[in-house]
Symmetry: C2
Subunit: 254 residues, 2 copies
């Protein structure tokens, strides 16, 4: 058993001022001492991007007994790396990222800065969880996600997570029927660009699109449970090796 | 059998003017018709980052019978998405990304823009391969990587790749003893920041570090074969679900 309060590192990709991270910080302060180390502005869709070509800076914004807040000019992964290399006296007992304003279910785990941060925590062998609320509206209500985050975070501190595995937690908007363990839904984004013109009449392309679900009625997939009112927990591996394909690939004669 | 020459999409993260992509384009023109669609400048370490908050533009630089070249103001993944949504008449038979100037072995697959592009091609169900040369020197010789790229690309066009799997190919500097199928080496980067001061005496942090290999003498790992003079081919999955951990996670009582 732990003799001291757990140390919890909180980050996100929407920036330190966002409602999502404020809600998550509030939920985590009930579980332990919190260090917030988050981007100084919006870094959505940054995946696991890192910044090798400019210097990082960290600005101390708040320092209380159980809460320290830094803003950093880097990506979500930069924030995690810098915090864990230079700004934490001991390894945190938990890293939480979010609450993202919008879904990171299905293939979006690949593009998500929220999950980039959780994956980075996992590389450091810190139990790590990304939280996202499937609601893009500006007045989204984060309260049910705070409840889910409290429950999942508490279990992750108690149970730990295996080396190389973190959690991708998505919560539907509205009432939550329960929490389900699921898998990353197979599918892709389609019709991804809105073609428009700039002031000089040149073509420009804005990212948009909709998710094409290839698993339809798979009740174990994250998209299905979210569409049916449950929160989803997908365990995510950082080892991307396709082990099943190794024997076949070894037959290729180069 | 194909009745027409294969269509090959070429991209990278070092920008369309880099020596690596010029070398890769040259190698691919022997195998098919080539469309280069690459970032207009350096986008290293961009992982699978996407750009939802500014409009993308594509500039046509060259148009010949078997070679078309575009430069784009987005990330490597933006380039692949925009090319496949808006700039290719048919689905390419192959996507190749690189040749990256520096290793993308081990955990670097997570941060790599080169591999971000290959993973994106894979999401589109295009056989996709990222190529990297483990040599950071400015006068790096890409010729042996061109040979490896020709061999691996030819096989991928002939054999195809399973849905959801792409290849991460790394080539050592110097003579190449052969090509080995391997796994992503477990490990992480450590000592990741060089702390310095700006002109006003404030702390700044530059990304640096060295890779700590947790698998030492595993002869099937990518870092081992590269250190021993072989090119490495790791099959990479886009489904990040940790299936092995699902049963245990389902025992958690939330």
């Amino acid at each position: 058993m732990m003799n001291r309060r757990p140390l919890i590192l909180v980050t996100n990709d929407d920036g330190y001022q966002s409602k999502g991270i404020t809600s998550l910080t509030e939920a985590m302060r009930n579980l332990g001492d919190v260090i917030v180390f988050a981007p100084d502005s919006h870094r959505s869709g940054m995946s696991s991007a890192i910044s090798p070509s400019f210097p990082l800076r960290a600005r101390l914004l708040r320092k209380e007994e159980d809460l320290t807040v830094y803003a950093c000019n880097g990506t979500p992964v930069d924030c995690v790396k810098l915090a864990l290399n230079e700004f934490t006296e001991r390894k945190p007992d938990l890293l939480v990222s979010g609450i993202n304003h919008g879904s990171n279910a299905g293939i979006s785990v690949i593009y998500s800065g929220t999950m980039g941060a959780a994956i980075e925590g996992c590389i450091f062998d810190v139990p790590s969880i990304g939280f996202s609320l499937c609601d893009f509206t500006s007045d989204a209500d984060f309260s049910s996600t705070m409840e889910v985050a409290s429950k999942v975070a508490k279990k992750a501190i108690e149970e730990g997570l295996p080396k190389g595995i973190c959690l991708n937690v998505n919560v539907p908007s509205g009432a939550v029927k329960g929490i389900r363990v699921t898998t990353q839904t197979q599918g892709k984004w389609v019709n991804e660009y809105h073609r428009s013109k700039d002031g000089a009449g040149r073509d420009i392309f804005w990212l948009t699109g909709n998710f094409e679900n290839w698993e339809g009625e798979n009740e174990n997939s994250d998209e299905w449970v979210l569409a049916n009112g449950y929160a989803s927990v997908v365990p995510v591996k950082i080892d991307m090796t396709a082990y099943d394909f190794l024997p076949q690939l070894k037959e290729w004669k180069f």
